[in-house]
């Protein structure tokens, strides 16, 4: 078991985030606690990405408060995020992981061992010497996961990690996410894929136009959604 997780719960209290006069997040209150993965669902532009970035600490709230483990500020040493279109450094796969480990403060002597472990974890062992930008889409996404895990995070934010992947690659990613969650890392993931939400979620948060319409346990939501949008989504319709 790992040490006590001090960033959790991540709480949003009536958070508003404005950009160019428009409210990307509109009075959002949410409580991300340790446990099962929380999956954010909703159409593009609903604010999922912004919510993830704000929870990571990359974006400040215009109004309202965000707290990590009760604190108003917290250095992001035990949090990690995988962005929607991750950009890898112009180096090899192993080089990218080594870089992430160095950035996370892992001492030089341990980096090689940890790096190899991480590559095995995401199934990229043997590809260490390949230039990162030559990997396939799925492989690049797994590398992003390895980089994020290099920080030994207590919370891992994922922004639509399988959005551009084929079913095989998608399954690989989902398996890795499941195993990460199983090791005690809190996973907060955005997706607009109904099936994926069903497969991975312990908790569902439905976002629409910057507002939270529904949130709760996944099985409750899928059994009986309470809003129109919720019903549309679970019926497989597109939300606009």
């Amino acid at each position: 078991m790992r040490a006590s997780v001090t960033d959790l719960p991540v709480k949003f209290a009536e958070v508003v985030i404005l950009a160019g006069g428009v409210a990307i997040l509109d009075r959002v209150s949410i409580d991300l606690a340790a446990g099962q993965p929380t999956v954010l669902i909703g159409p593009n532009g609903s604010g999922k990405t912004t919510l993830l970035r704000a929870a990571m600490g990359l974006v400040r709230a215009s109004r309202g408060r965000i707290t990590w483990g009760g604190r108003e500020t917290s250095p992001p040493t035990r949090r990690a995020i995988v962005l929607q279109r991750p950009v890898h450094l112009r180096r090899s796969v192993a080089g990218n992981v080594a870089y992430a480990l160095a950035a996370a403060g892992v001492p030089r002597a341990q980096r090689e061992r940890r790096g190899t472990e991480l590559l095995s974890l995401v199934g990229l062992q043997g590809l260490g010497g390949r230039p990162a930008r030559q990997l396939s889409g799925g492989e690049q996404q797994r590398l992003s996961l390895a980089r994020a895990l290099a920080r030994d995070p207590a919370v891992l934010f994922l922004d639509e990690p399988t959005a551009s992947l084929d079913p095989v690659a998608t399954k690989e990613i989902e398996d890795i996410v499941r195993s990460i969650s199983g090791r005690g890392v809190k996973v907060v993931m955005a997706t607009h894929d109904l099936g994926e939400a069903k497969r991975l979620a312990g908790e569902i948060v439905l976002l629409h136009r910057g507002r939270i319409l529904e949130s709760g346990r996944a099985q409750d939501f899928f059994a009986a959604p309470m809003t129109d949008e919720g019903r549309k989504f679970t019926a497989g319709e597109l939300l606009v």
Binding site: A80, L89, R91, P131, A132, Q134, R151
Partner: protein
């Protein structure tokens, strides 16, 4: 045509005067490129990564300075280094260090401007990842410069090429003194004016070969960069 033949002979025979001139040219231009890099790369990186009022005009001016006419630079440095000028007590006029100074002034804007462009382009790519990994400012600069190293090498080679090819600045501040400040380009100018075209052509051939070599190195650097980074 006869001149071309004797020019080739001169080069191949290993004429010591010729090679002394070539050696001086290379050391002056390489030193200048190095100094320009020491000043220009950090300057360019700084300009790429910081935001301040007046940044846009500074970039425009820097880009314009890439086209500084060498004779103008030569004249300015000449007046500065002359005994009756502000830096006269250094006694540098008509010596190789004066030529290095003039060429450094000429080449620094090129290196700074191209570095700024390279670093800024890479910065735009890496910015989000830096934020996501919580990378501090110093490490960001180091990472950008390191990852851009092949492009930066190309930039340095461009700077060196510019220095090696110019004559206007160094003939003024160096004085084209035989055995001391006579480089390939200034010797070509002199020998042409003396009507001794075979030596001038011989030097010209060596100079062009060097420039082609630089171009090949730059190409090699780009390829190496592509292969490594993918």
């Amino acid at each position: 045509m006869q001149e071309n033949a004797s020019a080739v002979q001169l080069v191949l025979s290993g004429d010591p005067t010729l090679f002394a001139i070539v050696w001086l040219s290379l050391s002056v231009s390489l030193s200048a490129a190095f100094c320009a890099a020491v000043i220009g790369v950090p300057l360019g990186a700084l300009l790429a990564l910081t935001r301040f009022r007046g940044r846009e005009p500074v970039i425009v001016v820097l880009n314009a300075l890439m086209g500084l006419p060498p004779v103008v630079v030569g004249l300015a440095v000449f007046l500065a280094l002359s005994r009756s000028g502000p830096l006269g007590s250094w006694g540098l006029l008509f010596t190789p260090p004066a030529m290095v100074v003039a060429q450094t002034v000429l080449v620094t804007p090129i290196i700074a401007a191209l570095t700024r462009q390279t670093i800024e382009d890479l910065w735009v790519e890496y910015r989000d990842e830096f934020a996501a990994m919580n990378i501090g400012p110093l490490r960001r600069v180091v990472t950008l410069v390191w990852d851009a190293r092949f492009s930066l090498v190309t930039t340095l080679l461009a700077g060196f090429g510019r220095a090696a090819a110019e004559v206007g600045a160094i003939i003024i501040v160096g004085g084209n003194i035989e055995g001391y400040t006579r480089t390939m380009t200034t010797a070509i100018a002199l020998e042409t004016s003396k009507g001794d075209l075979s030596l001038a052509i011989g030097l010209g051939m060596v100079l062009i070969s060097i420039i082609i070599l630089i171009s090949a190195l730059a190409w090699g650097a780009r390829r190496a960069g592509e292969r490594l980074a993918g």
